[in-house]
């Protein structure tokens, strides 16, 4: 790689999740903030160590569920009692107990859609291109390796000093990621 070309960040590779957790802890303590860890399966407490505690996802799902519930009930009421009233066995037009099954299904449907679309949206997926894919080692993040990437946009980032810092964390290797 050209030594002056801009880079996305520095990538340290670990063989075990515990080593990665420790590295993240030390990088946080050293003052690095713009970094992320990449693992082949969810590692407990890793997101918290990176300073990420709460996700808005449950609220999004709750709002989705409420929209599905209210919208479903209102739709059936409006259709059955206002726009197209039908006398079915002498029941009241707004026979709401009969509307519960559909209301329930629509609650689940909209909540589930908001869970999936919300998760993808918050994660910024789909993302066809990402600088990390430039690293030949990074393919192992979906197999058996655990990565820590300190991004060049971090205020404390320095190509040499950060590389030295990372190699002190006893990684299996440190490499630069092209922009």
């Amino acid at each position: 790689m050209n030594k002056d070309a801009p880079i996305y960040g520095l990538l340290a590779e670990f063989a075990e999740p515990e080593a990665l957790l420790e590295a993240v802890r030390r990088a946080r303590a050293a003052g690095y903030r713009r970094m992320d860890a990449y693992t082949p399966f969810p590692v407990e407490h890793l997101a918290e160590e990176l300073g990420f505690h709460h996700t808005a996802l449950p609220v999004i799902v709750l709002i989705g569920g409420l929209i599905g519930c209210g919208g479903g009930l209102l739709l059936q009421y409006w259709i059955s009692a206002v726009d197209y009233p039908l006398n079915i066995g002498g029941r009241p037009l707004n026979s709401w107990p009969a509307f519960i099954p559909v209301t329930f299904e629509l609650t689940i449907l909209v909540a589930a859609l908001s869970a999936v679309l919300g998760m993808l949206g918050l994660n910024g997926l789909p993302m066809p291109y990402h600088s990390l894919f430039n690293s030949p080692r990074f393919a192992l993040a979906s197999r058996n390796r655990f990565f820590l990437c300190i991004e060049a946009s971090d205020r404390q980032f320095n190509r040499e000093a950060t590389a030295k810092f990372l190699s002190e964390l006893k990684p299996a290797g440190v490499s630069e990621v092209a922009e």
Partner: protein
């Protein structure tokens, strides 16, 4: 060893390689081609039957007055019930932190999806004028009419379509990290592009995993009441009517139990040959098969209780039509079907009390087949025996399935099997990333 949920000596890398190699590097075998070929021919039979149905109408089936609901509804209920085990394994066992679900949840979910696809066909085919199926969906039409929301058949539309959609979402979300694995490990350009598009740029970021876990857990929490509601709504199709044999409050719980029962039997029928053919005995261990056998035994007993209560209530109600229906169901012209159902669904599965049966793969397979047949017979008995003796003896009649009834049913089995063959060939049938989390349990031996 038989108590383990993963064999000894696996690492993150070897778990990944073993499962992904089934998709990526295994040559297409003659066995796969043969199996897929047979299933594909049955799909052609299904398409042929549907074409003839569209040309001639549902008169080609055995349905008539008074048995207006024949194979189409029997098969619909049977298929949708089979789907329920997939959701149960993936959602309820996840919430209960049953780690043994990990290696079977992926293909159980695929099974759900394909079973719902087969189930969804039947009500549409039964419409008579299937090209107007979209009238079931509320949309502002120029005719100014709307669906009738007090009808359980309209509830069914919402229940089944929601179930299909949520099952698809659940399955796809579970696949995303594994699709990324396939993208990174595929050696062909087509594989990298296709899996890459499907993986949507998944990188395994810790923060993404955090949201991913939250979304997955929420989906499981949503799918759990959903799966119970779906078969409840299906049972409402019967229970809301005033027909003796259908009009009973025990239907919802016993339909749900029966659905889980038949679903686990189907997972067993699929898992036993798959683990043998693909050498996955270390991932789908005897512990898995035993646990599934126990679930089958428990739900089978609930179903038996349902049969018992149905019979008891028709006597206890002192309602003459109800009593006649029960006697006719047991001793009438369809009596042998009823007894075959009792044999397959109640008597044969009692063998699962014995550990020797639960640890014998062949016997398990045979019991699971019997349960699947039994559950189909159950729906036959419910639908046909309740209808064929109408209130007026002058309208009594028998129902006999025609060739087209059978060809459509067998055709959907072909569709189901063909989709499974494609799934096993092109997608990881075991969740790779969840198996990696079990790797620490694999050490020490």
């Amino acid at each position: 060893m038989s108590q383990e949920i993963i064999g000894p000596g696996y690492t993150y890398a070897s778990v990944t390689d073993k499962i992904s190699s089934i998709v990526l590097s295994r040559k297409m075998t003659l066995g796969w081609l043969f199996g897929f070929g047979v299933a594909f021919m049955l799909v052609m039979l299904l398409l042929y039957s549907i074409t003839y149905l569209f040309l001639e109408g549902i008169g080609i089936w055995g349905v008539n007055v008074p048995v207006g609901w024949g194979f189409a509804i029997i098969n619909f209920v049977w298929w949708i019930g089979i789907g329920h085990a997939g959701t149960l394994i993936s959602a309820i066992l996840l919430l209960l932190k049953q780690e043994w679900r990990t290696s079977i949840n992926r293909f159980a979910e695929a099974m759900t999806l394909f079973a719902v696809a087969c189930a969804g066909l039947f009500p549409l085919l039964h419409l008579g004028r299937p090209w107007f199926a979209y009238w079931l969906i509320p949309y502002p039409s120029t005719m100014g009419i709307w669906p009738q929301f007090r009808s359980p058949l309209v509830w069914d539309v919402f229940a089944v379509s929601t179930y299909g959609t949520v099952s698809l979402l659940f399955w796809f979300v579970g696949l995303i990290p594994d699709l990324a694995t396939l993208r990174d490990r595929s050696s062909s350009r087509i594989g990298r592009v296709v899996y890459g598009i499907l993986a949507m740029g998944w990188r395994g970021s810790a923060i993404h995993w955090h949201r991913y876990d939250t979304a997955y857990l929420l989906l499981a929490g949503l799918a759990t009441p959903l799966v119970v509601s779906v078969h409840t709504v299906v049972s409402f199709d019967f229970a809301i009517s005033i027909l003796p044999g259908w009009h009973t409050t025990i239907f919802p719980p016993y339909f749900v139990a029966g659905a889980i029962y038949s679903g686990f039997a189907m997972v067993m029928v699929l898992a036993i040959p798959i683990r043998a053919v693909y050498g996955l005995q270390d991932f789908i261990t005897m512990r898995h098969l035993q646990n599934m056998a126990k679930v089958m035994l428990a739900t089978g007993l609930i179903v038996a209780y349902g049969y018992l209560m149905e019979t008891f209530m028709s006597w206890y109600s002192a309602e003459r039509y109800d009593r006649f229906m029960t006697v006719n169901r047991v001793l009438g012209p369809y009596g042998p079907v009823y007894w075959a159902l009792i044999l397959m669904n109640i008597i044969v599965p009692q063998a699962l009390w014995f550990k020797r049966v639960r640890t014998n793969v062949l016997l398990l397979f045979l019991v699971a087949i019997a349960v699947n047949i039994g559950m189909w017979l159950e729906r036959f008995v419910i639908v046909v025996t309740s209808l064929h003796r109408d209130f007026l003896p002058s309208s009594w009649s028998m129902y006999y399935p025609t060739f087209w009834d059978w060809s459509t049913f067998i055709g959907t089995i072909g569709l189901f099997v063909a989709l499974l063959f494609l799934f096993i060939r092109f997608l990881p049938m075991i969740s790779i990333f969840e198996m990696r989390t079990l790797v620490p349990k694999s050490e020490g031996d």
